[in-house]
Amino acid sequence: MATESANGVSSPELNERDVVITTNDNRNFTVKIGVARVSKTINNMIQDLGESLDLSSGIPLPNVDGPIFEKVLEWCEEHKNAPEIKVEQDPHTRERKWFTMTEWEEEYFRKFLSHLWDLAMAANYLEIPSLYYYTCQKLAERIKGRTPEQIREMFGIEDDLTEEEKAEIRRTNVWCTY
């Protein structure tokens, strides 16, 4: 039932214990180990520390800030017992298939739509495959079918292509007229 671990440290009791995680804005989060372990980065830290783990002094996360970690935790709580996510290939096009999301996940992303890339970055750093793949998919979904102008507007990107580059694109890219 609990998250599997490589060297067998995992036990149901350990998963029920609390650990303190400190984000870069010095906020402390008290989290059940079973939940924190959804993140492979944190799981590795816990395993590396092993017996010497002092649960009260906490684990520092210098690259994640509080508001985002709060959102990530919400995801971990929901996915603590979820099986490892499988990236499937479409049998026909042989590209990665798009995942189908549960209602909860759809709602989650609807709630945090404006923080998608923060979530992707945190998931990338914390190594949470499910969150990582799903946020990437959500971002791809937002890019899909939009014109470059719309994309720039949506993500606040500046058009930094020079006229020369634009001319080259016009020449080599017949898929869209500039």
Binding site: N24, D25, P62, N63, D65, H92, T93, R94, E95, R96, W98, W117, D118, A120, M121, N124, Y125, Y132, Y133, C136, Q137, L139, A140, I143, K144, G145, T147, P148, I151, R152, F155, G156, I157, E158, D159, D160, L161, E165, K166, I169, T172, N173, V174, W175, C176, Y178
Partner: protein
Amino acid sequence: MKLRSSKTVAINSNETKRELMNNENLTAPSTANVYPVRRSTRQRNVVNYNIEAAISSQMGFQSTAIKGGKRKLVDLNPTEKRMKINGSLPSSSVLAKTNDINSIHVLPDNVMIMIFEKLHIPDRIKIERVCRRWRILSKFSWSRTEYFGYDSINDPSNAVRQYNVGNSQIGDIIRRAGRFLKWVDLSRFRETLSHDVCRYFVNTLQLHTVDLTGIHLTNSALSKLAHYCPNLKSAIFTRCFQNTSMERGLSDFLTIANQLERLDLSENENLRGITSFSKLPFSLKHLNLENCYRLDSKAYSNIHDRCPNLEMLNLHRVYDLVSVEALNSLFKKLINLETLKFGEHFVPTVPNGADLVSLGKLRKLKNLDLHDNNLITDQALIAISRGCPNLEVMDISGCNRGISEDGLRSLGNLPSLKTLNVSCIRNFNDTCLKDICRRGTLKEFKMQRCSQVSNEGVQFTLMNCNALVKLDVSMCSSITDASVQSIYEMLEKRHGKTIPINENDENIFQLSIKNSGITTPFESKNPWLNVYQDSDRFRVPVFINLDRRGGVVRWERIMHVLIHYHNIFDL
């Protein structure tokens, strides 16, 4: 907040590099690898770009440093600098607008590439226009694109958007994904493509399957294709050579593509094969010549001389110029053949004394389709029943001309026959049925329109063939409700009180009864029996080719069909 962002970006860019290098699917991102063909221009561009990027990034940082006051300049470590000069992936710290926390630019490169890989191909090309960083990163999102076909650009969830795909559009995709592509299927773009598309297959060295169905090719296009893709294993040229003689191009192609295992030349009605077939590669295993009815008999002799390893041969509708002697010498040598499709030969007269006895030399044959073949005689059937011990699937439906009871009864000697179709054979009767079911190996049996078979024959079949799960008695007027009763009894014995696991259980007995003597409208009383009122479409060969470019209608052929079916149709 600002401090955090710049720190994160710096760390992430280091990680990104490492991850990209470690990623086995993504070749090391050096420009030399990306476009081997246009190396010189690419390198020049990247050098220019790097200088520009370096200048702009420095300016950017200076300005923020002045504005923010607290912001430190991101220091690139020496290895990073070296990589930049060598023209590697631009690091996010250079390109990201670090002063804009809420921009998607904070995402490291590997995450961006991951997102781009998710996109459909048209979107992936379109995003090149968004900004410089995206333009460069999108180049690395093609490494997983091994297949290109209609589905790759037409999203099934977005049916409205249709792209107009011409030669240059395909060229655009191959330029980006070419060196990763393994399968290319252009058959569904045939309306808008021409032979010119072949010149875009420049860097497709890994390509092993290409489907150009319906695209008109020329000799030079075909030679070009072979030169660009020498490692092809499978080539599909259905309806590709319509107007001109393609002997020269096909010869070139077959000479260069000497690893070819599968060649599909079906529906090339003008193909003679006189010179080109003498170049057929030794490695060939599957050859499809369906409807190539102008093939010369010399071409046939080349097939058996050059391709002794052939496992599958499709000769549906190739009847015009082939003599029975030529066919006999062909089959005699193809001893590795496992599948032979040789149907729809509506020859008006069979030369006297000419029997296709060499079919009996195909000892490895497993699957034989001879439907509506007027060349099949009793002698041929007897030869098959003696010489093909591995035969499992056989279709002799509609072979009426030369077949009598003797030939049909000999099929009982086939030791591993599992599927048999004898529809529309007028001479098929209870005696034949009993002989064929003697060994009890049958699993599927079709006998549409065999009006001589009675309930007694069906009962015998059910008693002997314990594995039978599919029976088609459509249009058999002598088979009545008594047969259904015996099926119930048989199923009772076979399964007792058990019920199937699900509705797709392969042991469920399937019975087709359309227009047969079975009259009582009934619903299956046993869960192990499925009754179908609609039989498979009564098979009438469709000859009129409605494709825009292949539009050769052969009236003499339609006449053959009408004459042939005259006795069978209830006209």
